[in-house]
Point group: C2
Chain length 535, copies 2
Amino acid sequence: MKVAFAQINPIVGDLIGNTKKILDIITLNSKNCDIIIFPEMVLTGYPAQDLLLEAQFIKFAQNQLNEIADSVKYCIVILGTIRYQDNMLFNTAAVIENRQIIRYVDKVFLPTYDIFDEDRYFHSAIQIEPVNIEINGEKINIGVHICEDLWDSKYDINVLQNLVEKGANLFINLSASPFSLNRLEDRIEIVKTKVNQYKKPFIYCNLVGGQDELVFDGQSFGINSKGDLIHVCASFKESFEIIDLKNENKAKLISMPENEQLFSAISLGLKDYFYKTGHQKAVLGLSGGIDSALTCAIAVKSLGSKNVHGFALPSKFSSKHSINDAEKLAKNFGINFSKISINNIHSQFLDSLSNDIDVRTSSVAMENLQARIRGNMLMTISNQINALLLNTSNKTEIALGYSTLYGDMCGAIGVISDLNKSQVYSLSKWINNHFGEELIPVNSITKQPSAELKPNQTDPFNYDEISPMVESVIIENKHLHQLVKQGYDKDDVLDVLRKIRLSEFKRKQAPIGIRVSLKSFGSGRRYPIINQFKG
Amino acid sequence: MKVAFAQINPIVGDLIGNTKKILDIITLNSKNCDIIIFPEMVLTGYPAQDLLLEAQFIKFAQNQLNEIADSVKYCIVILGTIRYQDNMLFNTAAVIENRQIIRYVDKVFLPTYDIFDEDRYFHSAIQIEPVNIEINGEKINIGVHICEDLWDSKYDINVLQNLVEKGANLFINLSASPFSLNRLEDRIEIVKTKVNQYKKPFIYCNLVGGQDELVFDGQSFGINSKGDLIHVCASFKESFEIIDLKNENKAKLISMPENEQLFSAISLGLKDYFYKTGHQKAVLGLSGGIDSALTCAIAVKSLGSKNVHGFALPSKFSSKHSINDAEKLAKNFGINFSKISINNIHSQFLDSLSNDIDVRTSSVAMENLQARIRGNMLMTISNQINALLLNTSNKTEIALGYSTLYGDMCGAIGVISDLNKSQVYSLSKWINNHFGEELIPVNSITKQPSAELKPNQTDPFNYDEISPMVESVIIENKHLHQLVKQGYDKDDVLDVLRKIRLSEFKRKQAPIGIRVSLKSFGSGRRYPIINQFKG
């Protein structure tokens, strides 16, 4: 029995384009396999968010599904979409055979945590029932289910158990499971647990592609009834792959190193953000520091060097090595590069403002001013050449609010905003290693980080200590007592917690950033600005 | 039987401060009444968002509740908070008598739409049961329930029916119901329907105060078993009011005019944002136009004229009347005012950028540049004098993306961001009328709106037509066919839909804005940036 993974990359809302993509696959392959499986909500794209509240969108999706169904002649197609019935919207898998939608299998568990909001839109499945089909004369009872229905430990229904009790002898899971570090291992582990329990083969088909802050990594896979991995599809790209369940081979999971995972995920997220919003060119500021260097490296690998425009924007506080390192980086990557001093503009600002405020004493306001001049220059250039500005902030500084709103916080998308400072260093070294050259100047990696907004300034953090502490707070929700118990100094922890809390107003206006961890800033972390909980 | 509305204004997260506020009321009044009712989640503040995922927060709240309970000696206290049991978090009402928490009544319906995310945090009540108490020898069965549990039409359980069947003879509803235009009438109407059905008196106690984008309007009320309104508490402010259910009087609902509602709601939202984040001073740019004039008026009435700093920032494209109108406005309101030309800075930017981009031809980039210079100046001043910048964008232009990111979109909070352009005019006229003076210069109201970013520019919209069309799209989710049927030109509608869709990236980085409609931009409207649904 030949089962195909149609691991494709739809665009949210593009019902016509997605239909075409789906139809192309069906037309080309339906004679070569028995079942073609598409991921969760592949027709609408995922997450479609408040488009799911639009009657017109729901109706349009139904029409497109009917069009797709009409083209299915030679095999069975199982495809994720939405359906509306009796005032209820379902996240559903349509099972199509011989031009007919023979069944809808609705999602039972609606994730409503982290970045997920499915209770906002969907009604939970009313029944759990396998799908009976016949392939080459053999009756098969498929336990079709959707994404979260597999992860049943935190719910009080057991979907797979239910399916088995009703006769399922093959599991098929349609997923839109976003990437985070080592997520594939988690998925394989839970599927193996289920297979060991029920002794049925399991096909897991995942979405691929970038959608705003999220990246779907694909890596669909199959596991036989003995619990052996029999196939893993391509990672971070579209792929159509057929396996024969009657004649399977064992597959070996080759774990991707963490830095390669991060690099691949961010590259795909960035590439898709540009492609899916219709942009080619990127602009970024190059400070000579590590954050902008890494952002530049990823941009070049995702968008091509000719599409990347780097600008060094030195001030009177910029050191010589900053400009040199930026220049060297640009040369190494072969990008468009220009250097524009902000000195004259800066002086003119001070002059124009001097009647109203004190512009002579060093202050946060005077530091921010410079960052905002740079933000304005980069945005003006971006607007003029129809490019998108890349934001270069890392997760540690975003957490601590060590950034200027409308200054270095400008940008269409945060490229490394879910990498903490330690990961920034690690990934930078990996890039130099992986591509076999010193693409990112070693000086950018080894020198002391500095914003260079006043004389002799360096970042007021010990990143080796603070970067993991911040991650513990953001990802694991660790509180004061736990962190102190772990050995951190109480005052240090209190200071970090305070900084995180008081910088929420900045993050509310931050660009979206590509999510690669279990908890990134963005829609998965919802804190009030007015918040007087001091722990 | 004396029942008290403790309609108070807590601060989200401020468990210590909120406890003190609650204790002060109990200490002062518990001898004068039989029951004191506090609103939903008054102890934690509402919405507490992801604070509800912190173990430390939940534990702290429980401790504070115990402290409060310990002080209750002379009357019964019913108070909204949270409670954690068996790995489930509940939105609950604690009923306290004689230093004991005698019952928790958990919320059944967890709103998860618009701005609400309660399924993200809470578990639904496991049982529905009235609370038996005795007051002056009389046994009373109170149907305590929380906010949404009253609005049961879209759910498949009927909470009030359940309570009545189990003997409830008095309803008490604890709410955190955010303001939107004429919301009070909706609340009274549904309560009257329920009272007419069950013939039981009804006490509705609502939260008051501003929390980020939300405003809670208070206006708690009571209705007797015949369906007569017997009391309405103060609107838009804290209030402690006692009614005697054995000796009640009819009350008359004096409907507040819409403009007064809007003015009151926004003023409270703005005042609380400043107070609760620890700020006094506000900065804003005064263009001479209607949006900044109205924002200034509201700021003065909320924060006091001495705390408001207005800046006219003319360029070479600014008309004389712009500066005059701004100056006049500032004088009328008695605020701090200064005029700073952006011309020199603007020229310096053009000069510095001229090697890299075309700065001579008129373009969107060149227009945005000016708005961003102003944004930078206002932010520098704000940072330097420790003030918050007020954002002056209206809902219509935010919808259409007729604004500059990091330019006129700067600010800590959008004051009029949920007022469409028609409402902006209407409220401005109301202010002049209400305060009996031409506070807002008539010229700002009557002149043609213009961004003045190039010669002879005026806003490219017929606001009389486009402002209600945009509202229909945003609030009612109307689509192309419906709007065309209503008489709008198809191309106009398509253009508006396109503009709304393509400007999502700007709104993702917009400041929060005070919500006064049923659907504002902000957390209640969640659209993807990558969105190719063209209707």
